[in-house]
């Protein structure tokens, strides 16, 4: 439709017969060329529509996917190199913006720290319990999964309306499609596509992302959907399966996990309940979740891989190497 309209709209007057190529540089582009460029524009629009149709209609194994793979194989490493060059700039900017904030935070934290230290000294019992918990965590780690550490090297522009990032670990490091990606704070997203040396991660705040979540306090389950924003206000919507349950404000939501840990392993913290609301139209209660992860400053992330993964990167097993 767009093709036809544009072709009709483009003026295609009769050629004057004058060979208009390589004539004056300014102003006087010949009519012949004008007609030629209309054809080129039409051809390019048609080509774009063909690509759109191929990708929208295909079921994952379309030729577009192969093209994505080969483009990724070439552009991915270039992105990694560029990100490494740009990293000092990013760190300098982060330093400048957070310096004042950090000083305030240091003051608050040091007062809190001394108070907590006092408490900890007073209660050796608590410390014993902590040691037990530590052991539990370790055993969970041992039966569970391992992590491949990597860095975010590219971020998709918001103009594309999707929230995706590229990380610098790919198939050669054992990263596969539908693996969980997390960082120190909590759940980041899942791998949707891999090349040899990079992987594309769909962030949980993307509107296409749906994660099964479980409320920390009463083990109720629900689904978290992204709202597509990754600035300070990035939020997730939680639909609870059981409409009689009202989530408590401040309650922590963790992943409930999928079969075989793909795409999400169980027990990864996602965020905290910020507010609860219910709409008359829908039966279930909805809650707004503030994620733990700051999606504006993603850097080091871990990909959850099977324990026996071997690749060109160190696999973190949660054990301390002596």
């Amino acid at each position: 439709m767009a093709v036809r309209r544009l072709r009709r709209g483009a003026p295609t007057p009769r050629g004057s017969g004058r060979p208009a190529i390589h004539t004056a540089d300014r102003g006087g582009f010949g009519r012949q060329r004008k007609r030629g460029s209309g054809l080129v524009v039409g051809a390019m629009i048609t080509a774009s529509v063909v690509v759109l149709t191929l990708d929208a209609g295909g079921q994952g194994d379309a030729p577009v996917e192969a093209a994505r793979d080969s483009v990724g194989a070439v552009v991915g490493p270039v992105e990694t190199a560029t990100a490494a060059l740009a990293r000092p700039v990013r760190e300098a900017m982060a330093y400048m913006s957070s310096n004042k904030e950090l000083r305030d935070e240091v003051a608050t934290l040091s007062s809190e720290n001394s108070r907590l230290r006092h408490q900890a000294d007073q209660t050796p019992l608590d410390r014993q319990r902590l040691a037990e918990l530590d052991g539990l965590t370790r055993s969970a780690n041992e039966t569970g999964q391992a992590l491949v550490a990597s860095r975010v090297v590219a971020v998709g522009p918001m103009q594309s309306f999707s929230r995706t990032v590229t990380i610098d670990a790919g198939r050669s490091s054992g990263v596969r499609k539908d693996m969980t990606v997390l960082n120190n704070d909590g759940l980041v997203g899942r791998v949707v596509r891999t090349t040899r040396s990079t992987a594309t991660v769909l962030l949980v705040v993307d509107t296409e992302s749906v994660v099964g979540g479980r409320l920390g306090s009463n083990r109720e389950i629900g689904f978290l959907r992204g709202r597509g924003v990754t600035d300070g206000r990035s939020r997730l919507d939680l639909d609870l399966a059981d409409n009689t349950v009202t989530p408590a404000k401040g309650d922590v939501v963790v992943t409930w996990g999928s079969q075989g840990g793909r795409p999400y392993v169980a027990g990864v913290p996602i965020g905290r309940v910020e507010s609860v609301y219910s709409t008359p139209r829908e039966l279930s209660k909805q809650a707004v979740i503030a994620p733990f992860v700051d999606f504006t400053s993603l850097d080091v992330v871990g990909v959850v891989v099977p324990r026996d993964t071997e690749g060109d990167r160190i696999v973190l097993n949660g054990e301390v190497d002596q």
Binding site: A56, A67, E79, V89, P157, M158, F161
Partner: protein, 171 residues
């Protein structure tokens, strides 16, 4: 400069724009929106060389933006948006290339058209749908970014696409 070298140079500029846009510019992103360098390349190419040449650059740059990681949207959306932008910029190029202010104005219009076309095709295909209010916000921030960056980038890009004059060819 020989023809092949010019084509290679143009290709290198397109690749550089795509890579910088995803790997370096997120440092300065506002709500995730970064300056659309590929759009500026396409506008510069169309103003200097006309809609036909611009459309080819637009298709190549758009397709690269659609395929290079971390893109996850339906491929072809940026290609279509940037080809349309090239057709638009190429048609008003005689007016545009005599005044820098006109180029900035053209970039503003093109930015609006490109992001809107992308949003509309995405909405038609039901891909990564955002609420309309947020889409408008993204379109406007993108427009502001492109207008701010255009005076710095477009003058550098124009000589890259400049057609050699008859004198240069004879020499």
């Amino acid at each position: 400069m020989s023809g092949l070298l010019r084509v290679l140079l143009a290709a290198a500029v397109v690749v550089l724009a795509v890579v910088l846009q995803v790997a370096a510019l997120p440092v300065v992103s506002v709500n995730g929106v970064v300056p659309n360098l590929v759009l500026l390349v396409v506008v510069a190419a169309s103003v200097v060389r006309g809609p036909g040449y611009g459309a080819v650059v637009g298709f190549a740059g758009g397709l690269l933006l659609d395929l290079a990681p971390p893109a996850d949207h339906v491929a072809g959306q940026w290609a279509l948006a940037l080809v349309l932008v090239a057709a638009l910029a190429g048609r008003v190029r005689t007016e545009a290339r005599h005044s820098p202010l006109a180029v900035v104005g053209l970039v503003a219009v093109c930015s609006f058209v490109a992001t809107s076309v992308f949003a509309l095709t995405g909405a038609l295909l039901g891909d990564h749908a955002l609420p309309a209010g947020q889409m408008v916000q993204v379109v406007l921030i993108a427009l502001l970014w492109d207008v701010v960056v255009a005076p710095l980038v477009v003058p550098l890009l124009m000589p890259v696409f400049h057609r050699p004059t008859t004198h240069e060819l004879a020499a």
